[in-house]
């Protein structure tokens, strides 16, 4: 229904207003509907205001800025009805060093309410979690998973 959609959009924007500034150290992003079209058919635009810059659409951002904005939106949508756990498969792959730190701050906050599992190749992510699992395929085609230390994990990710 039209009302349900616009309510969800409103809620998503409220979550996004909380999440985006953590990832970008400021700034804001808004999900906006295409003008002049029925809300049930309108396209959804993502307007982004990075600290110190003018408002732009998602499409006009740099590669890394797009990825981090998309992560912010996906988390905002998750937070509308947060599940007890959240599994993130290589979400940190396109992030640079500065962003990864802020991403970890956000994860620390979220992990107070939800259990979080990250699939990652990134050493800084390995350093900040409580538990680390390494997966190997010594016997070709058969996976083995075991709890590992940070050093073992770093060697394995290699």
């Amino acid at each position: 229904s039209r009302k349900r959609f616009t309510d969800t959009l409103e809620e998503a924007n409220q979550r996004l207003a909380e999440v985006f500034p953590v990832l970008f150290s400021g700034g804001s992003a808004t999900l906006t509907l295409e003008e002049g079209v029925d809300p049930l058919d309108a396209g959804l635009h993502i307007m982004v205001e990075l600290p110190g810059k003018k408002i732009r659409t998602l499409e006009s951002l740099s590669g890394g800025e797009k990825a981090l904005t998309a992560v912010a939106v996906l988390f905002a949508l998750f937070l509308i009805r947060p599940a007890p756990f959240c599994i993130l498969d290589e979400v940190d792959a396109p992030m640079d060093e500065a962003n990864i730190g802020r991403f970890h701050d956000l994860l620390s906050r979220l992990s107070q309410r939800s259990q979080i599992v990250m699939i990652t190749h990134n050493r800084r992510t390995m350093e900040m979690v409580q538990m680390l699992y390494g997966v190997t395929m010594e016997q070709k085609g058969v996976s083995k998973l075991l709890a590992v230390t940070l050093q073992e994990g770093e060697a394995m990710a290699a």
Partner: protein
């Protein structure tokens, strides 16, 4: 709901029984390309009730059963169990008083499927009810699969609205 562990057996590249204990906070899974990390994510998605083989990166649901390797013949069945603490939010009388609840899904190569709660066969709708009670009703954003960020970036404005609709 608080997840305590995941057990994988004969599912995709996990030919042998594998147990993953979930800590309270944050955990990470690491390993080289192709070693099976995303298969763990698929296992969680599957035991939560995923019905689409495509969402599990396969052509048919049978593709999730271990299909053999150099040293090992294909498995006759694939099974995944998710164990969680009952934090008082389970409504079904049969399970409301149990401290720990195990949900199991099994698929035989014949195509026969089984669902169990605490090793007692049940219907898929009992699993769905259990997950609704414990806050996993909306699974769409609980699992951010590999490539979803890129797909979201590439999606057109009219496709993106579907993402918001699914979060409702």
């Amino acid at each position: 709901m608080k997840v305590t562990r995941l057990e994988i057996n004969g599912f995709k590249s996990f030919a042998e029984r594998t147990v993953v204990d979930f800590p309270d906070g944050l955990c990470a899974v690491v390993g080289p390309n192709g070693c099976g990390k995303s298969n763990v994510v698929d296992a969680i998605r599957w035991v939560l009730g995923e019905q689409s083989a495509k969402q599990l990166r396969g052509h048919a649901m049978e593709d999730v059963i271990f299909n053999g390797s150099d040293g090992q013949s294909p498995a006759g069945m694939g099974e995944v169990s998710l164990v969680f603490e009952n934090q008082g939010d389970v409504t079904a009388p049969a399970f409301a008083d149990l401290s720990e609840i195990m949900v199991t899904r099994r698929l035989y190569r014949s195509g026969e499927s089984e669902y169990m709660i605490n090793r007692v066969p049940c219907r898929l709708k009992d699993i769905h009810q259990l997950f609704m009670d414990t806050g996993l009703g909306n699974r769409d954003y609980a699992i951010i699969e590999q490539g979803r960020v890129a797909a979201f970036i590439e999606s057109k404005p009219v496709e993106r609205r579907l993402w918001v609709e699914e979060a409702a």
